[in-house]
Symmetry: C2
Subunit: 323 residues, 2 copies
Amino acid sequence: MKNKYVIGVDLGGTNIKCGIVTEDGEIVKKVSVKTLAKKGPETVIEQMKKGIKHLLENETKKIKGIGVGAPGIVKPKKGSVENPPNLPGWGKVHLGNILEQEFNYPVFLENDANAAAIGEMIFGAGKEIRSFIFVTLGTGVGGGIIHRKKLIRGDSGAAGEIGHVSIDYKGRKCNCGSRGCIEAYIGNAHLVDRAKRSLRYHPESKLHRIIAENNGYLSPRLINEAAKQKDGFALNFIRESGKLLGYALASTINVLDIPTIIIGGGTAGFGKPLFDSVKEGAVDRVLKSLKPKVNILPAQLKNDAGIKGASALVFYNLKKKSK
Amino acid sequence: MKNKYVIGVDLGGTNIKCGIVTEDGEIVKKVSVKTLAKKGPETVIEQMKKGIKHLLENETKKIKGIGVGAPGIVKPKKGSVENPPNLPGWGKVHLGNILEQEFNYPVFLENDANAAAIGEMIFGAGKEIRSFIFVTLGTGVGGGIIHRKKLIRGDSGAAGEIGHVSIDYKGRKCNCGSRGCIEAYIGNAHLVDRAKRSLRYHPESKLHRIIAENNGYLSPRLINEAAKQKDGFALNFIRESGKLLGYALASTINVLDIPTIIIGGGTAGFGKPLFDSVKEGAVDRVLKSLKPKVNILPAQLKNDAGIKGASALVFYNLKKKSK
């Protein structure tokens, strides 16, 4: 039994997903429980304990620790989670202490996007890469920065907010209150809004029919379907969106001198047209010395990326300690 | 004799400035020699040796090492300087080895903007601050990132290029080839260009007379003079420029979760109107949790910042090693 085992917990707004994960990033056992977020932190914590207990039932493997990826501001040293969005009533919860007392394993917490970045470093596309910027495209645009095999955490653990790099100070209004944030162009709702606005000038697009068939509903997935059916509008729209992301990344690459980007999340499903245009946009805008180095890679942790990223926190932190 | 002494060398395009510096950042002896950049790297290196030898003449203090701040891409571990702008014919020069062999002291090299950031951390405005972004405003807009008391170097030591954060992907053309880089708004030449363009709509500004008196010449210093004479246009122009810098910094602050900014360089001489508006712009655009934390400070190393920054490299690296 050469393998080391850890537990990864992905605390989401709807479900808490827990798994026992090997040091190769393989999930050997998995359980999902409802978050019951509306019932407040005590219930959510009970649910989390329930999930972990379920995993440990009849389990003979030696577990090295528990990693938790949580939304909001996470302070790993204090083991606290503050005001996670989608989890009402939390304020500040010392989740680390609570779980350590319950299970008597070392517990490592991290913001979920940062956990995903560490997951890519330990198990995924970043395994052989010293420094990279991880970007996740979904409802929001988030990320994490790995610099010389270490997570850049910033002052309070909130570093990596790639979604709030602005590409236009007079641009689209973002939910955060600023203007021109790349999230205000390619976050799911904004992506759909932009597509719908442009569609007015493209009566030829298949998307009109697709929207009609879906009772007026449009999603990134449906745009992708149209693109796969070679709809010119949908393809151009994906390419244009990729370029804008490339522009935002160019600023980030210039500041950090980190030209490798790993992109995950639902919208990464746009695939090659997206990745090619992100690269085109970034290469067009980065400093000359960086142009040949720009490298845009798809994330490798797809299903259960949350559990794997959370579990990677244990391997990452135990490795740091053993040094 | 409680003090430790090191040598700092500021390799500029026109002059090489060398000094013996105490661990309090005081320069006890100083010499400046011509760079003679046009004569190529061998001559420049001879000049550098000449300057250092001059410092060491009749010197009884024990010197702990030599720090060099150089333009271009500097690889501290290899001790090499690559293609420094303003120093023709360099290609790649192993400056570290050359100086170590000549003087038999440990030599530490760093890009000049990064050296200045380390200078502020060791001797200046960043002494008590764990993480900050250093920005220098002059011909170009450069910088360096200090994260938890360490310099973020990026992949090849070029991190900190704050000047090439874009605020508008359709904006002003930058020397780097991109668009909307903040340097294309507030780098000296761009600042003057923008002021001249706006002046057409402001016949009331005192700057018209000042420009006429200077034979058509305008500079940031002259704009500052007008502002100090309460010229409304000049003041507004400085405020507008500061706001734009604040917008560029907001993207950087969001990505790094580092809300403390230290600003140096000639244009920082605009003083309070600039600093206030940088803060206003940044606070307006950063994420909500960061708004109360934004802190914009003037750099403390002014005269001989180059020598002091270079000398700080020795203290910084020896401290790291002794840990």
